[in-house]
């Protein structure tokens, strides 16, 4: 049994203009102690997937269908009260923007202690001790003093570390990190990633790492999901995705990364075309209108996910055409 198992998840926003299918038939699983990367175009549904798992979708969004099992237990359909016991306790999130998730009118200490008190049976004093311990753990000096400060008094890196401290205070089984280091310089980013990996090993927790940064994915993730238009186009081990991509979108993504070792300034190779309109999803593969390899069937029928390696799945008709995929998980390793 997987720690987290998402099956055919559909989440939509019911706007006046119509139904925005932000997550559209997404399936994946997350194992204990693993780091799963999620990449994909802006607007492909990464954050909405995270919010669906925690059921913190804002109006007019809701889960339309599908299943999310945590330790085998179905989360879809749970009451808000039941979900509150899981949020921040068993599954925590670090939000894309730390400023929106830290309350500007309360001190850091106030917010940290409250989160700890709510999810554990510690009293105020014990919570405070735990808060200090957590701030130390994430490398914040003078934690007692910091507890009395407000979010705006801290630097971006420090705020992000407070968020991590808060997310980890209750030793969750799963940490969802939504672009945790985007606004930070690479030296602070390296510190924070190192810290997250250290804690992940010590606490045996699983991490869902949402990011645009393929460098971050390469350095910390065991497995990767590549999303496009609310669905998975490809998933597999990090090595499989980087060294043997089996979907045109993934290939395009890899090609468009600037190469640090290139001193000649070779022009970048972007993915041409514009992102899909989620209000008007085409019947076939959502990437087909931008895919240089698209065939007739790609525009007509949405491809299913097929195994292309022992730990590697891809939803692309090319693999079917070339006969290099199967419906059963293959025995042998991918070369």
């Amino acid at each position: 049994m997987s720690l987290l198992e998402v099956r055919d998840l559909h989440t939509s926003f019911f706007t006046p203009a119509g139904e925005v299918k932000a997550v559209n038939g997404l399936s994946f699983s997350l194992e204990k102690g693993k780091v799963l990367g999620i990449v994909g175009e802006s607007g492909s549904g990464k954050s909405v997937t995270a919010y669906s798992i925690l059921q913190i979708l804002t109006h007019p969004g809701r889960i339309v269908s599908g299943s999310i099992r945590f330790h085998g237990e179905e989360l879809v359909g749970k009451s808000d009260e039941e979900m509150r016991k899981i949020r921040g306790n068993k599954i925590s999130i670090i939000f894309q923007d730390p400023m929106t998730s830290l309350n500007p009118t309360f001190t850091i200490g106030n917010q940290l202690c409250e989160a700890i008190e709510m999810h554990t049976d510690r009293n105020r004093e014990q919570s405070r001790a735990r808060a200090v311990e957590m701030l130390k753990l994430v490398g914040i000096s003078e934690p007692e003093k910091r507890l009395k400060q407000y979010a705006y008094e801290l630097s971006g890196g420090m705020r992000q570390r407070v968020m991590i401290a808060m997310a980890l205070a209750c030793e969750p089984d799963i940490l969802i990190a939504d672009e945790p280091t985007t606004a930070l310089d690479v030296t602070i980013q390296a510190q924070i990633l190192e810290l997250m990996m250290k804690l992940q090993k010590e606490l045996g927790m699983a991490i869902m790492m949402i990011t645009h940064d393929m460098g971050v994915i390469a350095s910390v993730c065991d497995e990767v999901i590549v999303m496009y238009a609310g669905g998975v186009c490809e998933r597999g081990t990090t090595d499989a995705i980087f060294y043997n991509p089996r979907h045109e979108y993934t290939r395009g993504l890899m090609r468009s990364i600037p190469d640090m070792s290139d001193d000649e300034k070779t022009p970048l190779i972007p993915i041409t075309g514009t992102p899909i309109d989620l209000l008007h999803m085409p019947p076939g593969c959502p990437f087909a209108p931008r895919c240089e390899q698209a065939m007739k069937i790609c525009l007509q029928e949405k491809p299913k996910e097929y195994w292309v390696g022992r730990d590697h799945l891809s939803a692309c008709w090319m693999n079917v055409k070339d006969g290099i995929c199967c419906t059963e998980r293959p025995e042998e390793e991918e070369s």
Binding site: S155, D185, A218, P270, T274, P275
Partner: protein, 329 residues
């Protein structure tokens, strides 16, 4: 010989900044204000037709340098020269505002959602009265939209109807409207994903070539900055630490901060990444309200000595065209 607009011989540099300071008064308690030294004694030049990259951690003063350079903020101290002319007087500013433009950091909040694309793009045209008559104005809007790869049929749509990459194109079209020679691009691709980022970077490079533009390109993604820049400047807590050609700075960084910065750039290759020797700095970036004495980097620097606490190092030319501010080099 090339000549500048004033008819004088054109210098190698289009933009020159000397001893620029930008301090902001911030309230630090009841009736107490402290000066936040966002930019503290920074000097550099930008050559004609080149792209100067500007990197550094969040809050180190990159945007403030860009805005002060364009006189969107009046400098606390220091001089800005553009095409051989000192900028500051009312007359110099009027001309300068046409010739120098800015593309803003956030494509989501920098465009007014109640304005159509046409009106956004035409803003500088209207401000500087650059087109006589409605037809000329509309033709120019179409020309600008085509230039940045926007569909001219979308001119009457509102900004919020566009994706991040498209919004960034709108911002770039607006910046180009007054036919500027110089553009400050403040993190024009940071909010975009890699594939859209590549589109916008290619477009900026094409426009530079076609229109002979000079860029100050602010970003924190080093691989993007390396790709687009001829030279790169590194800032830390309002100070400039190092300035060199893009290949030299990324290949042979000298300042301890730049060295750690380069060692920590995430490599988008799992096997290479596993071998990477990152120099992880200790401690946190100090508050800009309490910048350490002497060298601002010394509190996180493994080579810091007594001298570093006493005296702020000045930029020196360590090798041809490679400038660095450190006592130990």
């Amino acid at each position: 010989m090339e000549r500048n607009q004033a008819g004088k011989p054109a210098s190698e540099y289009l933009v020159q900044v000397s001893h620029l300071k930008q301090y902001f008064p911030v309230s630090t308690g009841f009736l107490k204000t402290t000066m936040l030294k966002a930019v503290d004694d920074v000097s550099f030049g930008i050559r004609r037709g080149e792209t100067l990259g500007l990197v550094g951690e969040s809050g180190c003063g990159k945007t403030t340098v860009g805005r002060t350079l364009l006189h969107l903020y009046t400098p606390t101290e220091g001089e800005i020269w553009f095409d051989g002319e000192k900028i500051g007087s009312r007359e110099s500013l009027k001309n300068f505002r046409k010739r120098a433009q800015m593309v803003f950091q956030d494509p989501y909040s920098s465009l007014n959602p109640r304005m159509t694309v046409a009106d956004i793009v035409a803003e500088p045209i209207d401000v500087h009265k650059l087109c006589a008559g409605r037809e000329a104005r509309e033709a120019r809007i179409r020309e600008l939209m085509t230039l940045v790869g926007l569909n001219t049929e979308h001119a009457t749509r509102y900004a919020h109807e566009f994706s991040g990459g498209q919004r960034q194109r709108i911002g770039i079209a607006r910046a180009l409207a007054s036919n500027p020679e110089f553009i400050v691009c403040d993190e024009p691709v940071s909010a975009l994903d890699v594939s859209i980022q590549a589109q916008v970077i290619n477009m900026l490079e094409e426009l530079q070539e076609r229109l002979g533009l000079t860029y100050l390109f602010i970003a924190h993604d080093i691989s993007v900055v390396k790709h687009i820049s001829n030279r790169i400047a590194v800032m830390y807590l309002g100070h400039m630490m190092e300035l060199a050609s893009a290949n030299e700075l990324t290949g042979h960084p000298l300042h301890p901060y730049t060295v750690s910065l380069m060692s920590a750039v995430p490599i988008p290759d799992p096997k290479e990444s596993r071998k990477q020797q990152r120099i992880v700095l200790e401690g946190d970036v100090p508050s800009p309200l309490k910048v350490p004495s002497g060298c601002p980097f010394r509190t996180r620097c493994s080579r810091a000595t007594k001298e570093c606490a006493e005296r702020c190092p000045e930029m020196r030319e360590a090798s041809p065209d490679h400038f660095v501010a450190c006592h130990h080099l």
